[in-house]
Subunit: 624 residues, 2 copies
């Protein structure tokens, strides 16, 4: 094992951007800390005004390997199992001949992020007025961020690696084939598990739409009666979305295992923003900041959830008021030839739109505030709670109008138009705001910087949009899944539009991650988190909506004209219950884990338990 420091040339992994008003002594003091106690390589760089506001951070291979143990990184062991990385044991891991490339890009960034977050007060090193650093349990960088002395900390792309990744990913024309898979391990090695899971899910979902769209087309063409056609498609829809999610769970568990994410609860480190009192972790017995789970649960059940429910009710009442005003106005100004009347009729919806947008924004801030306040220990738990809050509100808000049109107005033309317009807005609007506009901006900025500084990659990175997490990406998918599945019995063609859109969007999303946003810090994940539940819920709701849609369809009522209203409804209630039971049975029948993964996990657990026994045995022998 050769870990000669001199081999490593300086390579920037992460950039710290200071505010220009940050005092020089703080900057140089932090620089010192990074060099001495964190043992990083550092280098200052200046902005266009010649202010030294950028601190580039690099690290030797040795430093990164040492850190990898702390971060709980798992690697493939010689017996092809996944084991915690141990520096002492490195020869027994695969690919340990070339130490430079032993850790992936994402793993290196995890090590650096962890050390940065854990840079704590160290009273012995303090040699200037540090009274502003009030909290000795809070990370230094987090405190400087709160004081606006540090504006941003972000990793930057590795140009060579990125080029290589792009060429086999979305720039490869072959990758558009149905039987082609995205280079998921490469994506994971570069962006980390959380982003990789998103792209894997997106791909999986898109491929699942093929049979769906095809089946929809077939049932539409074949000469079925409306009732039979709708029912066949509803049952197909039910089986499809259940099987789709169950197979996804298997895929996801397999990935999660092969990426060493199966015991996340021990790997994940506290977030930089996590607050707690110094205490003993009841599980690891290590000194740590601890925040009682009970407090968090109380906050959730007695404050957060009631607020969410109130918000949804508020949104619902607003919608009801809007519809009632609209109806009144429609009746009053019913002359279709009068421009005045048409204008008046538009007033309520304009008013509604104007009120709704800021309310949604306010809700978003409330959700973020509440999640911060709940004080989650790890990033995945924080994200999953924030996502749930945003999602519940989003779901209620977005589908409320669709439900209204479908079941109260029973206006199928309106519903159809609404679906189309939502799909198009979803597709076009997203691409414009998320990809094209920022990319244009980037090209322009690049030209300016190129002229001034030459080809300085780090500075271009600084000008990019900040990475905001995967929430909006998942929402886009979820929204589409909703349009496809909730009303599919009546509008099976929606799946086609979705399919075409997704084939393109997979690539534009990839492009966004590589060029439009700042590179994200890689984050652990053992799946798509709360979205799995969200998709599952939608699957159950879709059984109800589809059956309701069928029951309300005039052609179907005509088909059952021998039935009394009561019998007719009872029939559909029975069908609905039967289908939900069928769904649950399918969910139970398909195991969530393949036998191989289940065995591998059991084996790991078994070996640990045996090791614990041996340890105790050895200890008791020693005492004797």
């Amino acid at each position: 094992m050769s870990l000669d420091d001199s081999q490593s040339k300086f390579e920037t992994y992460v950039v710290i951007e200071f505010d220009s008003k940050c005092p020089h002594e703080i900057k140089s003091w932090l620089n010192n800390r990074l060099k001495t106690s964190a043992e990083f390589l550092t280098q200052f760089a200046s902005n266009s005004k010649e202010e030294e506001v950028f601190l580039y951070i690099g690290a030797t291979t040795k430093r990164l390997l040492k850190g990898a143990e702390n971060v709980g990184i798992k690697k493939i062991y010689r017996n092809k199992t996944i084991r915690d990385f141990l520096l002492e044991d490195i020869e027994n891991f695969e690919n340990s001949t070339n130490l430079e490339d032993f850790l992936s890009q994402a793993e290196k960034l995890k090590v650096i992020e962890y050390e940065l977050n854990n840079l704590k007060h160290d009273f012995e090193v303090m040699n200037f007025n540090e009274k502003f650093l009030i909290n000795k349990y809070d990370g230094i960088i987090n405190q400087l961020k709160k004081m606006d002395l540090i504006l941003n900390v972000f990793p930057i792309h590795d140009k060579t690696e990125l080029k290589r990744l792009e060429s086999i990913w979305y720039k490869n024309i072959k990758s558009y084939g149905f039987f082609q898979y995205i280079p998921i391990d490469k994506i994971r090695n570069y962006f980390g598990e959380s982003v990789a899971f998103y792209f894997r899910f997106f791909e999986f979902y898109t491929k699942a739409i093929y049979p769906y769209a095809f089946f929809g087309l077939v049932t539409w063409i074949l000469p079925f009666s409306p009732f039979n056609r709708f029912m066949i498609f509803t049952i197909f829809n039910l089986i499809w979305n259940t099987v789709f999610l169950e197979i996804w769970k298997r895929t996801s568990n397999e990935l999660s295992y092969s990426w060493g994410m199966f015991d996340l609860e021990f790997i994940d480190k506290p977030r930089a923003q996590f607050r707690g009192l110094p205490s003993i972790n009841p599980i690891t017995s290590k000194p740590e900041l601890v925040y009682p789970k009970k407090n968090r649960r109380n906050k959730k059940y007695f404050v957060s959830y009631p607020i969410i429910i109130l918000s949804i009710l508020l949104a619902f009442f607003l919608m009801m008021i809007y519809y009632s005003i609209q109806n009144t106005v429609n009746l009053k100004f019913d002359n279709p030839e009068s421009y005045m009347h048409t204008a008046f009729k538009m007033l309520p919806s304009i008013g509604y739109s104007i009120i709704v947008i800021p309310l949604n924004l306010i809700y978003k801030y409330i959700a973020i505030f509440l999640t911060d306040w709940e004080n989650h220990r790890t990033q995945p738990s924080y994200e999953s709670n924030l996502t749930t809050k945003l999602f519940v509100f989003y779901f209620a808000n977005n589908f409320m109008t669709l439900f209204y049109e479908a079941f109260f107005d029973r206006n199928y033309e309106n519903l159809s138009n609404l679906l189309v317009s939502m799909l198009i807005v979803n597709a076009v609007f997203n691409k414009l705001t998320e990809v094209f506009a920022p990319y244009l901006k980037k090209r322009i900025v690049k030209k300016i910087i190129d002229k001034r500084d030459g080809d300085d990659y780090e500075k271009q990175a600084y000008s990019l949009d900040k990475y905001e997490g995967l929430y909006s990406d998942y929402v886009t998918l979820f929204e589409q899944y909703g349009y496809i599945t909730l009303f599919s019995s009546i509008f099976p063609w929606v799946a086609f539009a979705a399919l075409v859109n997704n084939i393109m969007e997979q690539r534009s999303d990839a492009f966004k991650f590589c060029h439009v946003n700042q590179r994200p810090f890689p984050s652990n994940a053992n799946g798509i988190g709360p979205w799995k539940i969200a998709f599952e819920l939608l699957g159950i709701v879709s059984v109800m909506t589809n059956i309701a849609l069928i029951a309300l369809h005039p052609d179907v009522r005509e088909y059952f004209k021998g039935f009394s209203d009561a019998e007719y409804i009872c029939l559909f209630v029975l069908i609905e219950h039967g289908l939900i039971i069928l769904k649950v049975i399918i969910m139970i029948v398909i195991p969530d884990e393949s036998e191989a993964v289940a065995n591998a996990k059991q084996r790991y657990k078994y070996e640990s338990l045996e090791a614990l026994k041996k340890e105790r045995l050895a200890r008791s022998m020693k005492i004797k």
Copy 2:
């Protein structure tokens, strides 16, 4: 640590009963094997015909302690955590000063049963014609049982311990108080986890009925309109049965942890009847008989389940045929004063009863045959699969008639009568067949034996009824839970009858275990197994039945006379969906484990993982 063999006097733990035609050489050969390779103490005893058909098995404390390690017994460690028992480390366990009483009765029996089951062919010891022992992977005792040379293997009671247990259990008048708990740890120490869980659950369930019966009474007395009364009680019923089961899960998880049952998958040994090919266990890497999970799954999904479904359909058609014949007969012979007519009217139900009883028996044998054939590795898994099969059929069969009366006949008086008679039959009939009759038999047999052999406890034990597992005990509870909860909105008084019955039945059940049946081999369990799901399912079904009952009630229809039929049904469908959502929310909100238990488990897992790391570290250091 003193483990002097001479201290232990001979005490019979288990009796092997040979067939009288079993050749003497086999008996003495087995006796030899038990003494030499299993290191047990043994002693022959003869029956009334002076044939030596009983082999009493005992063991030294040292032998039992040595065996306890293999069986994966867990004990309380000095730091109050639960740890795998290690003989070398015994000083660090609590109560290790008195070695005689260190292992509980149940643990001792587990050790002996394990060794008996694992007595395999040992070609070196074979010294007579053993060609009959064809399968070298199958346990010897199991093979002798199959050949009917061994009739039974059963543990016998420890008179002193049993007396002590009885006196603080059902013989203690205080134990009948509401705030009194049964001595659950003592029961576990004597009968093992599986039986203890049954009694704990029975107690828990009985106590849960108190508020239920009380609330039912209150809503019945207060001057509500029928709709309000039914709805209030239905909602209460929903909350009650959800909360009841959720709290049970917590209680059960706590017990399971404190009894060291949390990693059953590694503790549980293969059943004696388990067949497989010698191979390497993929988890422990130990040589073992292995049977691929896939084969078992295929057998279940492609043979067992379809057969079950067919059986239920058959039973259903039989019932439908019965009802249609009954209706025809009722119409044809409608003279209430003619005895002939009355007699004719009874014919169909007599015929139905005659057909149903053997069919049920046949089904039971099919279920046992299928479960044997599925070849489950461990006893809990075998039992859980058998239970599921029996239960599903039972559920369908038993509640089918109730459903028919409730929803097709809509004959509330019939239904009410049916409920009462079922409850009474359930209570009285069970007690007669399960407790009183066998007890009488026991008293008589005791007298005969006493006269002949003096007070030979072991021989009395042999004459008792074989222990048949907990299936019928759980079914009795389940049945009652069904009567209470499925139709509770209309007949809340049923709970009172159940309450009175249970207070008595808890004691008669305890008596049954102590005196009526042969002592069961203690069996591991981490809860009530498949019954948890069965009770949960019933909770969901009860929402549907109650809402349907309310909707069908004439007084309620009258209350909503302003509604059209369609609106009326839609209203109840909405209510039903809303209530089921409420139920799911309650289930999610109440965590299945208390924080303490969750932490303790995590801690155990964490320590094991750390031990594994250390072990690897030590190994890699040693190599260097």
